[in-house]
């Protein structure tokens, strides 16, 4: 066959090996999303077929040489109602179904393992709680819900994993979350799908899904020595947060132990949940919300800490159930099952962080 045309042959071989019309389904949400997708394809095909068949049939039946004199018809309320109500009904089904999936994708379960993602021109940085850093890659285990807390350092990016059917915008100055549960080990595409400047198309990477055992091995082999919380603790000390935030009852700032996930009353009387976004805001824009009973003296650290630094601090404050347990924080990311609250479905929704004893 080769002698027919090497080029053509190349092409055919490539075609056959590469011709996939549908992306792999590698997460738990993928089949659910695809069910809706195929439902919509089906409805669309039926709708399109009806329209095309009618047009063709009428064109044949009533073309001029067969049907020289048109019969004037004013219209029909019954028909108008039919083709208003049927598409509307179908669209509404899609709307409800779609919204359910949307909520599912963006509402992480309480026991999800949290990984931080920082997007910047033009790379993705992933920070595991155990202190493993990755660039343009993300290693995750199967059989375990994974939550990503995403933020951008500069412009909009978008963290997209087609094989998982999930995608979330990385927004400058704001945490967003998405979660998924990988089902099939393998390597999948990671794309930046929001146009972000010159090398937008190079802002790609790999999602490596490992079996839980392999994942443990990977974690152990790529540790940097410090957990994220430990990084945060160092930062906390070097930025002299401790001058105000310490266990001393006379300290000028509130004690931060146990603050994460609790309800904080602000000086305006408003009660807010101390989630990641709240802590980030408290560090960078302290005047934005003053805790009741405290003077607005905390200086802003904007411009002094990178987004990764803030993440480390957040992780550290999360880990402060009490000061003495901090020391026990170790390198693994394994989670203790079961936890407190499934929060409200806001974007930056906290997932309780487990601490693990090895």
């Amino acid at each position: 066959m080769n002698d027919i045309s090497p080029v053509l042959w190349q092409f055919l071989v490539k075609w056959l090996t590469n011709f996939a019309l549908y992306p792999p389904e590698a997460s738990k949400i993928a089949p659910q999303m695809d069910a809706l997708y195929f439902f919509m394809v089906l409805v669309s095909l039926i709708g399109l077929t009806i329209v095309v068949l009618l047009v063709l049939a009428f064109s044949v039946l009533y073309r001029k040489d067969r049907h020289p004199h048109a019969v004037q018809i004013e219209g029909s309320t019954l028909l108008e109602a039919t083709w208003t109500i049927i598409p509307l009904g179908l669209f509404l089904i899609m709307f409800v179904w779609g919204a359910l999936i949307y909520f599912r994708v963006y509402t992480p379960p309480a026991n999800a393992m949290n990984i931080y993602i920082v997007g910047k021109q033009w790379m993705w940085k992933a920070e595991h709680p155990g202190g493993q850093h990755e660039i343009n890659a993300l290693h995750i285990p199967t059989g375990q819900p994974v939550q990503l807390t995403i933020i951008s350092q500069d412009v909009f990016h978008s963290f997209s994993i087609p094989a998982f059917r999930v995608k979330r915008e990385a927004i400058p100055g704001r945490y967003t979350t998405v979660w998924f549960e990988p089902t099939t080990p393998g390597t999948y595409h990671l794309f930046c799908t929001q146009y972000c400047g010159t090398d937008h198309s190079q802002m790609v990477g790999e999602i490596v899904v490992l079996s839980p055992d392999d994942f443990k091995k990977w974690l152990a082999s790529s540790t940097s020595g410090n957990s994220l919380a430990q990084d945060g603790e160092r930062l906390f000390a070097s930025l002299q947060c401790t001058t105000c935030h310490n266990a001393n009852p006379a300290s000028r700032g509130p004690v931060l132990a146990g603050i994460y996930g609790s309800k904080v009353t602000l000086s305006t009387g408003e009660v807010v949940t101390a989630d990641d976004a709240f802590i980030r805001e408290s560090i960078l824009f302290p005047s934005q919300q003053i805790s009741q009973g405290y003077a607005p003296i905390m200086p802003t650290f904007q411009g002094q800490i990178s987004e990764e630094g803030v993440i480390a601090l957040v992780e550290y404050i999360k880990s402060l159930d009490s000061y003495n347990r901090v020391r026990q924080t170790t390198n693994t990311t394994e989670l203790l099952p079961g936890s407190e609250r499934p929060g409200p479905p806001v974007q930056t929704q906290p997932a309780p962080q487990g601490k693990v004893n090895q």
Binding site: G269, E270, V271, V272, A277, F278, Q288, Q289, V346
Partner: protein, 115 residues
Amino acid sequence: MSDLKEMEEQENHIVSPMIYLAILGALLVGTGLTVWASFIDLGEWHIAPGLTVFWNPVIALAIACSKAVLVVLFFMHVKYSTKLTKLTVMSGFFLFLVLIGMTLTDYFSRAWGRW
């Protein structure tokens, strides 16, 4: 053409200077009133935790709206205009509210005052 009848009505209506004068007075009074109102604390209304209405801005905007309505109705003659003009004014106002309202509700429902 089809609006011919209404058209003539409109053209012939001339607002008397006395009305203009009265409106002028009302507008100036309104201005004084907002300035005065801004200097006293009108308090607030707690509807629910985190949802509070402050009366000062509400009053200020209410006065501003009334002033604007006076200008539109009398100085701009909308009171004496065709239905079409009235409809045009209303639709502009409506869409203005849609732009502001629908955008703000997104912010409201995203936890007001914070990202």
